[in-house]
């Protein structure tokens, strides 16, 4: 059986002028944190072979991002797309992704970005792993596939933690771990002209209406408003050495320094 990596990606909202979110193709872009996860999967494939599937949940406008993932080198793109999935919070999203991943079994590795550039919760990776009942390690900066296990390193609180994990496993990949590749023109032409983004609907999953979308979401976004932070200049007076001490004290109080 070839090694199968599934990378969960999101088409994030690029701009929300006046706080309004409109999900159109030209306003959806590849979550930069997920691009790093896909890069990790593609580098793993180049090294050890196997295949890479990208998976997302979202409206049809997300297809452009799925095609970009194909252009980067993914073998297959699957979009969970159904009106019933609308309004999902991170739990309903994770439930849906996990059910979609089950349809693609067997799989060895599930990769996520650490978070998204629009909602920024960082919850979907861990919640999906829990739903799948597989181990997860977050914030990974390096991993190596051995014959029967995965060796993983992550940096937390100035410590490098090393793990050995059995397959299948899930990882979230630290953004600075890799530089994701540029998308070549030929890949784009092939992705859009010759290849298809597959769709999964609710009926394809072993889930009920109550588990997905708004119905399956215990949390609600009640409202959103843009926040303006007023920047203020402040003049400190005194001798340079005292000023330096004052600055360090202020920065420390604000948590800017360790």
């Amino acid at each position: 059986m070839t090694f199968h990596t599934i990378v969960c990606i999101k088409a994030v909202v690029a701009r929300a002028p006046q706080g309004r979110i409109v999900r159109t193709t030209d306003n959806s872009c590849f979550n930069p944190f997920d691009r790093v996860a896909l890069e990790a999967a593609l580098q793993l494939k180049a090294h050890t072979g196997g295949r890479v599937t990208v998976l997302s949940m979202g409206p049809p406008a997300c297809e452009v991002v799925m095609a970009e993932a194909l252009a980067m080198g993914a073998d297959r793109a699957v979009l969970a797309c159904d009106p019933a999935f609308a309004g999902a919070d991170t739990l309903a999203t994770s439930t849906t992704l996990a059910a979609a991943i089950e349809t693609m079994a067997p799989y060895d590795l599930v990769l996520f970005g650490t978070r998204t550039a629009d909602s920024d919760t960082g919850q979907v990776g861990p919640q999906t792993a829990v739903a799948l009942n597989i181990p997860i390690i977050t914030g990974v900066h390096q991993f190596t596939c051995m014959e029967d296990r995965l060796e993983v390193e992550r940096t937390m609180d100035h410590l490098v933690e090393s793990f050995a994990v059995d397959f299948p496993a899930a990882l979230t990949i630290r953004p600075g771990a890799l530089q994701s590749r540029d998308i070549g023109l030929r890949g784009l032409a092939e992705a859009f002209d010759d290849r298809q983004v597959e769709r999964l609907q609710l009926a394809d999953l072993t889930l009920s209406c109550a588990q997905v979308g708004e119905a399956g979401s215990p949390t609600r976004v009640v409202s959103m408003r843009p926040l303006r932070q007023n920047r203020q200049g402040q003049f400190l007076q005194g001798e340079p050495a005292d000023l330096a001490d004052k600055l360090i004290q202020q920065w420390t109080e604000k948590g800017l320094l360790d």
């Binding site: 452009v64 070549g184 784009l188 032409a189």
Partner: protein
Amino acid sequence: MDKLLADKHIAVRRSVRAFCERELRPIAAEIDQEARFPWEIFEKMGALGYFGIQVPQALGGAGLDAISYAIIIEEISRVCGAMGLCVTVHNSVAVYPLMAFGSAQQKDRWVRPMAKGDKIGAFCLTEPNAGSDAGAISATAIADGDHYILNANKVFVTNGGVADICLIFARTDPAAGRKGISVVVAERGAPGFVVGDLEDLCGMRANPVSSIRLYDCRVPRENLVGKTGQGLQIGMAALDTGRMGIAAQAVGIAQAALEEATQYAKQRRTFGVTIENHQAIQMMIADMATQVAAARLMVYRAAELSTRKLAFSQESAMAKLFASEVACKVADMAVQIHGGYGYSKAYAVERIYRDARVTRIYEGTSEIHKMVIARSVIQNS
């Protein structure tokens, strides 16, 4: 505009913009000042398929359509006019004529490495006394057994300083006037192939524009592209495509000017407010944005006609004429909005202003384009 584009074109714009912002933006001012061709960027662009945009995938190209091509040139030029120029000239007036008129063997020999960016192409028509009047060239390609002996002094050759494969317009039959002009490929390194000094130009300075001189340069007869006497026809067909590229380049330059001016207007304060609040500035920004949008639509129209394999000569001439004039006007207004700072190399609009100017001159001046358009309109009326 992007809302009206196909998903593929949106993705093409996004990928090229991301690359140019990360790789080209940080060095654009420096390579302009140093008049340095950025080989490091060139190689990356080659790997990404920028040098075979419309070349079929079977020949190693990206296999994209004309709107993608226009968008790519627009996006590169938005960040660096000189590299936009390098890419458009290579794709349009060097690769295209070989694709349209070359033999299968020529495509395999030249287009394949050109599409990967392993070899750079150049179009050598202009001479000291022949530019707009292309039929007045004096270069010769005289048959001698299995070879042509080329003698030519080609000037203002875009990419000239780095070009490997040069399409030389020369007289194979000096007595036959305009019908005696043919296209023969001369490759860098051939005996008698000399690259002249780089031109010290006002704008587009990172492009190694140079003269190419051929002194009794012997090339095999199979280097003839198309048929003997077909030179001007090939040249005009190449320029139809080339004009679209220059028009797209002009749109990119104009877009850059608009963005720089708008950003500056939001920061610069006079009379107690940022200058975006002054009606005089708003009038200019409205004019700039409207003209850039109109020019972009004209370019995409010509590109779409080309993709559908419909006649687009008149439309590409109109797009080139309009977009190049717009680029100059918009760059001028961007400098005006910047005031004295716009005349300083500290701000990007100074480079944009210099880069814009040549778009009204090369690949056919505005005046020649008006002749082409007028003839077409009158003939079809």
